[in-house]
Symmetry: C2
Subunit: 143 residues, 2 copies
Amino acid sequence: MIQEKKKAFNNFAVAKGLRSTRQRDIILDTFLSTNQHISVEELYLKIKSGNQGIGQATVYRTLKLFTEAGLAREILLNDGQTRYEHVIAGEHHDHLVCTGCNAIIEFEDETIEKLQKDIAARQGFHMRSHKLEIYGLCIKCRH
Amino acid sequence: MIQEKKKAFNNFAVAKGLRSTRQRDIILDTFLSTNQHISVEELYLKIKSGNQGIGQATVYRTLKLFTEAGLAREILLNDGQTRYEHVIAGEHHDHLVCTGCNAIIEFEDETIEKLQKDIAARQGFHMRSHKLEIYGLCIKCRH
DNA sequence: CATGTAATGAAAATGAATTTCAAAAGCAGA
DNA sequence: TCTGCTTTTGAAATTCATTTTCATTACATG
Ligand SMILES: [Mn+2]
Ligand SMILES: [Mn+2]
Ligand SMILES: [Zn+2]
Ligand SMILES: [Zn+2]
C-alpha cells in the first residue's frame, strides 16, 4: 500500500518531468508513515527529528505536489494551520472535531451527501466540492 | 430593525461597561447598511470612502465586539479574508459558494441539520457548531 | 473642569505561507 | 566519467491578514 503510493507519486513525477530527489523521498516516506491530519509544521519537525535536514519551504512545496498527485488532501480547519491527510481512492469523508482536545473523527453520511447535491442542483449550481465540519466536545472533554 | 440592532449593541455595551464612541457608531451604522458577508477590508474601505477616518485596528476590534454582542457572525471561507454577516435571531443557514464569481447563496436544510446532530451524538460528541459549505459554479459561471 | 480609565490608531509585531535567488543536485548526452 | 543545462533546494526575505503595542485622545463621572 505504501509501495503503491510511492509508485503513484513516481508515475506523477515522471509524467510531469520532475526530478527524483532525496528530499522528496524523505518527505513522502515520512508523510506515509504518519497518521491522518498532520500539519506542515508537524511534518517538518518529524523529519527534522529524524535528523535529516530539509527546509520548510521544501516541505510546503512537496505537500502541494502530493496534493496535485492525488496522494494528499489539504484540510483547512480554521485554526490557522493547513493540515494534510492521506487520500484513499474512491473514499470520501467529513470531520467531527473536538474543540477540547483537537481530536478528529471521520465520518461519512450518504444522505447528507445526496442532500447537498440536491441543494446545489436546486440553485443551478454545479457542485465541485463541499466542506462539512462538526465541532463539539468529545466524551473525554465533556467534564 | 436597524434601530433594534443598535439598541441591542447599546445594551451589550452598557452591560460590559464599554464606552460609547464615534467610531463604534460609524462602524455599526456602516455594517448594518451592508449586504451579507462583507470582509473587514471591504468594511474599512467603505467607511474610509465616506471620508471618516477610522483605523483598521478599530474596525477589526469592533467587529469582534459585534460578534460577541450577537449582532455579527464570522464567516471563514479559507480565501484568507474573514467575512462577517448579520445575525438574525433564531435563524441558521449554511452557504453555497460560487468559485467563479464568489457569489454566496444561503440555504437551510432541516434534514441535514438533524443528521449532523445524530452523527455527533453517535460518537458521543456534544455538538457546538458546524460548518457546511458547498462549492461549485453558479449558472452564470458554467459557460 | 478635573481626574481616572477606556478607546483609538499608527506603526510594529506576528505567524503561516510564499517567493527569491545563489548554490547544489539531477539528468542527458558526449 | 565529464560537461552543460535545468530543476531543486533552503536560508532569508517577503507577503498579507490580523493582532499587539503604546502614546495620545476621548469618554464619563463627580
Ligand atoms: Mn480526514
Ligand atoms: Mn450567510
Ligand atoms: Zn476532546
Ligand atoms: Zn458564479
